[in-house]
């Protein structure tokens, strides 16, 4: 057998069914073999970045299904591999397991600046969980198995395999033998502590029982360990409200009576006020990043912190915990829920405080959403998301791009289905939505998938419409077009005296773009057309694109300015000094 055959055998052994990618000189042998085998479904992206996000989509969406998949993307050496970089860095920031396989120039010419040569391992090292470059054909299978183990064990992350072209073609010795079933990775430095220790758990229970003003944090780890239901049981048992990180959304229904919604920079007033006044934060699978905490010196000053986290290097990185539990979220909750010492308390005064906070913006928001249009009559994104939520019952899968519309989709869609919200969080990569949605749809073909985009981000990867056309992917594509890079514009409105530097943007005729790819298209300019257009997209079989003409002056509030504390939360839109649009 040759290197390429061993590679594909190992991928098949690991349950890989789909490979996303783009061929080229240094990876051709593998593609050729893949074609001969016919075992894998190959999906050709129109740019390698697209392939990386499709692989992410598959990993993210399938983890809660009966058939969890690790997304695999493939690219050639040099520019092919470099085009994967953003997607890999994004997966690393968001702890998404993924395996990226790149061809490399032949070993004989490595480090000679050969045609299409890049130091892939050198580039990928700081943005991936692990990198490998097998130089001998008998290392390939073992390396693939180790790569999958590392990518999926503990905190997930992307792993890169850079395989020189000659190694792909070399015949392995006749006496080569690899026993997949008996394979155990030899990684003496790889720590994985899934089981919570008894002592901190007991301390945690004491703190929970004693607390007067506790808040539960639901982070990405809850989604990744499929612990949403357990978290809900736990919250209901102890009667403690739950605030979500961006990636914790959809772990349990967003309209659950204990839900405070999203926390942080664009989080709800109730979540942020509760955190500010809390005496205990019980955080599951999150990392207290700056968009969540704001100014650290002012963050939850009177609160004890219980931090449950699978990655020990995240514990104490930003916020010092009172009790640190380095373990898997599911296993920790499993033990916690059934702890006989754990008690629920009514905490009437706390509930009263939270109920008051819920009212701070509720009426304003309701009014805005009901009005549905800005001063110049253009549509509001909030309203569009709100209508989408109502018409789909909050049960569809939402894949958002990055920007204002992302925060709207995070705040105003009423998530009911576990693991139904997908977005680029840590890296905040514009252009992720369209390709990621393709991966999501592949993982969950029976569910409806919406790709929600701004006009800016959509144009970063709109070449993937070609993939959608070719694969016949049934995606509902929304473009909330306000003619600006909306989130940056919002900052310019609030902090740069309304000078809109580098944010106005001319878009192509999206209708013509859609028709070039044979995708039906509707442009929505009037409030009355919003619901019929969404309904049409729901009823339509196959891909459809809806463009909404939105009000550029709409802002997402509340907002905690970057570097500010929770006391600096902006809840009313200030009068702009000189707003021209």
């Amino acid at each position: 057998m040759t290197g390429k055959e061993l590679l594909l055998r190992a991928l098949a052994d690991r349950g890989v069914q789909t490979i996303f990618g783009y061929t080229g000189g240094a990876i051709m042998p593998v593609f050729d073999q893949m074609d001969k085998l016919g075992h894998f479904r190959f999906i050709m992206s129109r740019h390698e970045q697209g392939a990386a996000f499709m692989a992410q989509g598959l990993s993210r969406a399938s983890l809660s299904t009966a058939n969890p998949q690790v997304g695999v993307c493939m690219a050639t050496s040099g520019p092919g591999a470099m085009n994967l970089v953003t997607g890999i860095a994004d997966a690393y920031m968001d702890s998404v397991p993924m395996v990226a396989i790149t061809g490399q120039v032949a070993t004989g010419v490595i480090a000679t600046d050969a045609f299409q040569e890049s130091d892939v391992v050198g580039v990928m090292m700081p943005i991936s969980k692990q990198t490998y470059m097998p130089l001998f054909v008998d290392e390939i299978e073992q390396t693939v198995h180790e790569a999958f183990y590392v990518a999926t064990t503990g905190r997930g992350g992307p792993v890169v395999l850079d395989i020189p072209k000659d190694v792909q073609n070399v015949q392995v010795d006749k006496d080569y033998h690899f026993d997949t079933a008996a394979f155990r990775p030899a990684l003496p430095g790889f720590y994985y502590h899934p089981t919570p220790a008894r002592e901190p758990l007991q301390k945690a229970v004491e703190l929970i029982n004693r607390s007067e003003r506790p808040v539960i944090f639901c982070g990405h780890g809850v989604i990744n360990s499929n612990a949403g239901q357990l978290l809900q049981q736990f919250a209901e048992k102890v009667n403690i409200p739950v605030a979500f990180t961006l990636h914790g959304l959809s772990a349990l229904p967003l309209d659950h009576p204990l839900s405070l919604g999203m926390m942080g920079m664009h989080g709800t007033v109730e979540a942020n006020r509760a955190i500010m006044e809390a005496d205990l934060l019980i955080s599951f699978g999150m990392r207290f990043d700056d968009r969540v905490t704001g100014k650290l010196s002012e963050y939850a000053q009177n609160a004890d912190v219980i931090h449950v986290e699978i990655d020990p290097s995240e514990i104490g990185k930003n916020v010092q915990p009172t009790v640190a539990i380095n373990a898997d979220v599911y296993r920790t909750l499993h033990v916690l829920v059934s702890d006989p010492m754990l008690a629920g308390k009514p905490r009437r005064r706390w509930r009263q405080r939270i109920a008051e906070a819920r009212e701070v913006m509720a009426a304003d928001l309701r009014r805005e959403i009901d009005k549905g249009v800005g001063d110049d009559g253009a549509l509001l994104m909030k309203t569009i998301i709100d209508r989408l939520s109502k018409l789909t019952g909050g049960r569809d899968l939402i894949v958002s791009d990055v920007g204002q519309h992302q925060m709207m989709a995070a705040r105003f869609y009423n998530y009911q289905t576990p693991n139904s919200w997908f977005a680029s969080g840590g890296a905040g990569t514009m252009g992720c939505s369209l390709p990621m949605a393709i991966g999501v749809k592949l993982a969950r073909p029976d569910e409806r998938v919406w790709s929600i985009n701004g006009d800016g981000g959509f144009q970063m990867n709109m070449q993937e419409l070609g993939t959608i056309m070719e694969q016949g992917t049934d995606l509902k594509i929304m473009i909330l077009n306000n003619g600006y890079l909306g989130m940056v514009r919002q900052w310019q409105t609030l902090f740069f005296d309304g000078r809109y530097a580098g944010t106005p943007m001319q878009s192509p005729d999206f209708g013509q773009v859609a028709s070039a790819y044979s995708i039906p298209y509707r442009k929505v300019t009037e409030l009355a057309e919003v619901e019929p257009a969404i309904q049409e997209a729901i009823d339509h079989q196959g891909a459809i694109m809806l463009e909404f003409v939105c009000d550029p002056s709409e802002v997402i509030l509340p907002m905690i300015p970057a570097g500010g504390g929770f006391n600096d939360m902006i809840i009313k839109r200030p009068k702009a000094k000189k707003e021209k649009s």
């Binding site: 090292m125 969980k129 003496p188 720590y191 990655d311």
Partner: protein, 156 residues
């Protein structure tokens, strides 16, 4: 700023040194000294890194992020009270026997080579401060070239 010594055991594989130094750069430190050698266990290297940082929590962060690398088997900080920090130096000096012998009572060193009456190559080992003192005592004007290994450390 306080000088710190970090001791790490790691798989002896290509790229591991790059990962370690990359992390230290990412955390915005400059490496003071770095020494690597084989450990007693085959396939495992032993690395001693020194850098400057006052904040205990930041040092803890470096340790936990180093530990996160799959190749890193164990990491700890060695403090000066509970460990020996030593380095060695090879020095080419322009000095006669008499001048050199005058340091014998205060310093232990070995003459490796005797190029001429005037040129000697000597070797000395000791703490960083001890070697600094020796170099100062010899007199900068006598030194042609000096090679220092950087710190290696061992727990008491």
């Amino acid at each position: 700023m306080k000088r710190r010594a970090i001791l790490a055991f790691m798989l002896d594989r290509p790229g591991v040194l790059q990962k370690v130094s990359m992390l230290i750069r990412k955390k915005m430190y400059n490496v003071d000294t770095l020494t690597v050698c084989n450990s007693r266990k085959e396939g495992i290297s032993r690395m001693t890194i020194t850098l400057r940082e006052d904040d205990e929590e930041k040092v803890q962060q470096i340790l936990s992020q180093l530990e996160k690398f799959t190749e890193v088997v164990s990491v700890k900080e060695l403090d000066t009270d509970h460990s020996y920090w030593r380095e060695a130096a090879i020095i080419k000096v322009e000095a006669d026997d008499e001048h050199l012998e005058s340091f014998r009572k205060d310093y232990t060193f070995e003459i490796l080579d005797h190029k001429s009456d005037e040129i000697h190559i000597i070797q000395i080992a000791g703490s960083t401060r001890r070697i600094d003192a020796f170099v100062k005592a010899l007199g900068e004007e006598h030194i042609i070239e000096i090679a220092r290994t950087g710190v290696t450390a061992l727990e008491k």
